[in-house]
Amino acid sequence: MPAVGRTYWLTEPCRIRREDNSVRVERPDGSPVRIPITDIRDLVVFDHVDINTSALSLLSRNGVTVHILDHYGNHAGHFSPAESMSSAATVRRQVEISADDEQRLAISRSLVLATAENIRWALDTDLLDPALEALRNALPACRTNDAIMGQEGNFRRTAWAVLDSRLPPWLRMNGRTRRPPTNAGNAFISYLNALVYARLLTALRSTPLHPAIGFLHADTDRRRNTLALDLAEPFKPLFAERLLRRAASQKHLKESDFETDVGRASLSKNGRKKIAALVREELSTTVHHRGLKRQVSYEELMHLEALKVVRLCLEGTPYKPFRPWW
């Protein structure tokens, strides 16, 4: 991760061009915006964007990742710079760990449990305690990743129902749906999940880890960067569930921020901007890290999470998934 540099959120249709070895963003209205190339950590694209090869090669040379979200907020893909952090030793260990059933299942279990506890933390309710207890008892008996994912699914279903009870009727999810999300609540969660995934992918790029060699999702999601999906799990409650609850209780989101159709929903242009602002602010929130003895932003927590996996590979330090301590 570059020491300085910001994430730029492109919420309107625009065109990205290279100019004087830096970046110029042209928007349909108004004058072009020039962004210093050294100030870009990554780009998150919410809308139609035109980009050409010379701009891409400049972005690649400066280590900038471009994340593309589709209309429904799913992760549509990303452009990432050529490998520069590779280390065979780390990747080899990563493959060994992921191929060893015992170790992989142990990591999967801890990831699922941490996620469940984080949800409980994010929703801040004891309604989830029985479900959490059931999950805790069921996990050690799971011998395959599918079984673990099944247990997670059971817990998630309860958690969504509990979350629904805290939301205004129009924002309720009535069961999680994706591709496409069927209502406003689901659209919001989809967007946030895609963003968290994108943030982790950026974090992983600054380590030698291979983002496609994961532990939990390895068998079910064959075409995604499963390690990013895995590591995103414990962070999702911190962003998606918590922000949805907060946006609802503070009446920050309005029905007009969503474009709802029969059986599908997505964010409107204004809604996208709101969410980009919300997430940007959330990512820069800092907490005191007891190990590092300094303030650390949520964004950096994801980077530290990726480094934990590096330490697991190189030093054999047991991997403990992220849990909020504050």
Binding site: T11, E12, D20, S22, R34, I35, P36
Partner: protein, 87 residues
């Protein structure tokens, strides 16, 4: 660090200085730039500018602060600098 850079150079060298600054800093006003840089980036920018200007005639002044929070600024009239990071 947070950097404010002001340049006053001969007309024929202005574009060169402008283009060099654009790679590192945000344009705020005619011949004024500002932005956040690491120490290394700051040195790189200064080195690049050093090769462009005529040290006998041109003048570039920078003001640095530890972070943008350390600087208070007010704008009267038109704010020429671009929007933030949500475009």
């Amino acid at each position: 660090m947070f950097v404010i850079l002001v340049y006053d150079t001969a007309v024929e060298r202005n574009p060169k200085v402008l283009k060099t600054c654009r790679k590192y800093l945000h344009w705020t006003q005619r011949s004024v730039f500002q932005g956040e840089l690491s120490a290394a980036q700051y040195r790189a920018l200064m080195a690049a500018l050093g090769t462009v200007i005529d040290p006998g005639y041109d003048s570039i002044v920078t003001y640095t602060a530890r972070s943008p929070d350390m600087v208070e600024s007010t704008t009267l009239g038109v704010a020429l600098g671009g929007p933030g990071d949500i475009l």
